[in-house]
Amino acid sequence: MTTQPGQNDFAAALIDRALPVPDGVTSWTQPLPARRFGVYRNNVSGALVEALAVRYPVVKRLVGEEFFRAMARDYALHNLPRSPVLIYYGADFPDFIAGFEPAGALPYLADVARLDSAHWESYHAKDAIAVPQGAFASLAPATLANVAFEFLPSVRILSSPHPIVAIWRTNTEDAAVQPVDLTLAEDALVARPEMAVEVRTLPAGAAVFLSALRDGRPLGEAAATALQTAANFNLSQNLAGLIAARITARIIP
């Protein structure tokens, strides 16, 4: 009579390394072969860590390979993918980072992770064509306050008390990482008007303004909301920024 380990036992032992090799797993050299079974354990955790490393390259760079692996493995083994499409895996990793005590010395890490994640989502988002910049010129000033906008599916808006864009940019684009003033707060706009993802720093109130527009609220209302949060909110500067960013899929007069 041989033992028949079900996939339940096999899967449980893959995830919980304290469990023994499942009964019935064998090899020509020995029964219950630990190192052989360990290949599967390493493959599973290694692949999930790699999926997170691809989505969170700047986080990995900030904490280093070894720290990232340990943190990502901890997340992965407690948060297995629910879909076989790993493009969507790890969306809540920033929340995990925010509560990950060993990373407490880097208070900006979770928000930088949110920027990494926004960049990844923007890269894979549904394609749409931005309206030409000239389309804004034809809007009548009298009715401007009632105009609403539909943004590209690739648009992400982030708000942070940390200089997330400066940190992200110097760890992505600069040959040598430049010093960043960690007392600054930065909001970010992430979008992909064509094939390249663009990351912008937003001026005061813009994150609130753009979020309101993204939620379908008309321009006048979005501007008023932004003014409430940032007294120095500048509407004409923000309109110019909105047009320059090419993030509008549809203008709804």
């Binding site: 041989t2 033992t3 028949q4 380990p5 079900g6 996939q7 339940n8 096999f10 899967a11 893959l14 019935g24 797993v25 064998t26 090899s27 020509w28 050299t29 020995q30 029964p31 072969p33 630990a34 190192r35 052989r36 079974f37 290949v39 599967y40 493959n43 599973v44 692949a47 999930l48 999926a51 297995l80 993918p81 629910r82 879909s83 076989p84 499409v85 790993l86 493009i87 923007s122 890269y123 894979h124 988002a125 549904k126 394609d127 599916p153 690739s154 992909r192 094939m195």
Partner: protein
């Protein structure tokens, strides 16, 4: 059912984002591209943009890694629908998947996990292959696995198991020669004997890749199907042996880790093409001699 027709009996390579620009600029000549289906299941963006551009110039083979055909859980119908959409959108010449499982209940374990070879598991795999082929409306190829452990409960050899699947379901087989080498070395079997016994009449494609070498707890060789290094000479020898039985079929150079310059992959592809050409010549000269 649509049968395999549009992938030529030449060598292809795996399409990697690192090579998108160079491929579109230089349009190197070779048989086909293969992609992992799951990497193209995002909504849009550069992956689809480049795949569409590449597809204009090359035939495409779609290789799934996450369907979990060997799983105890039911097949994921949403995933089948995603595969079908890709096969249609990119008019893929081949679709292949693995004799393995990767999803258990609702958790995706992201590895190709081993299946015991019994009458019961055979029935389950056949049901899943049938379901896949019915859903996709086409023949699929099933790939032999790299395995690191065996199961006490197994009552059949891997070759008997795979042969029965092909016979019962009408699926084709993807013969991964590196997997043959890895599996045979890991289980103290003769890779030549494996190739000699393989049901070659069902083979629609061959995979070639590199592997890593480790040791198990007893010091015995433990080879790992890592796809992170060039194809080794002993696998090339095994490939020649396989081709002499199978005849010229589409052959893929797989590389998923430590992706080298495109030229390195093209050089490996050219080496495989020479094996295919030599076999064509050998078969032609036999045919002539027989007249």
């Amino acid at each position: 059912m649509i049968t395999v027709a549009t992938i030529p009996a030449r060598t292809g390579i795996g399409l990697k984002p690192q090579h998108y620009q160079e491929i579109l600029r230089d349009r190197p000549g070779f048989g086909f591209f293969e992609v992992h289906a799951e990497n193209y299941m995002g909504a849009g963006g550069p992956p689809h943009h480049y795949l569409e551009a590449v597809r204009k110039d090359y035939p495409l083979s779609l290789h799934g890694v996450a369907l979990s055909i060997g799983g105890e859980s039911p097949l994921n119908r949403d995933h089948l629908a995603r595969l079908k959409a890709l096969l249609e959108r990119y008019d893929c010449g081949l679709f292949s998947e693995h004799l393995a499982w990767s999803t258990h209940e609702d958790a995706y374990l992201d590895d190709l996990l081993p299946v015991p070879y019994t009458g019961k598991t055979l029935q389950r795999v056949c049901d899943h292959v049938n379901e896949t082929q019915d859903f996709l409306g086409r023949q699929m190829l099933l790939e032999n696995p790299s395995t690191y452990v065996q199961f006490e409960e197994s009552t059949m050899t891997e070759i008997d198991f795979i042969s029965q699947i092909a016979t019962r379901t009408g699926c084709g087989l993807l013969l991964d020669v590196n997997n043959v080498f890895v599996t045979c070395k890991n289980h103290n079997m003769d890779p030549n004997a494996y190739i000699d016994a393989f049901p070659v009449e069902h083979v629609g494609e061959i995979h070639l890749a590199g592997h890593d070498e480790r040791r198990d707890d007893t010091g015995a060789p433990l080879l790992i199907d890592a796809h992170g290094s060039p194809v080794v000479n002993r696998v090339w020898k095994l490939y020649e042996r396989a081709i002499s039985r199978v005849g010229p079929v589409p052959t893929l150079i797989e590389r998923d880790a430590n992706v080298p310059p495109l030229a390195d992959l093209l050089a490996e592809a050219a080496r495989a093409d020479r094996v295919l050409d030599a076999e064509r010549q050998r078969r032609n000269s036999h045919a002539v001699a027989a007249e």
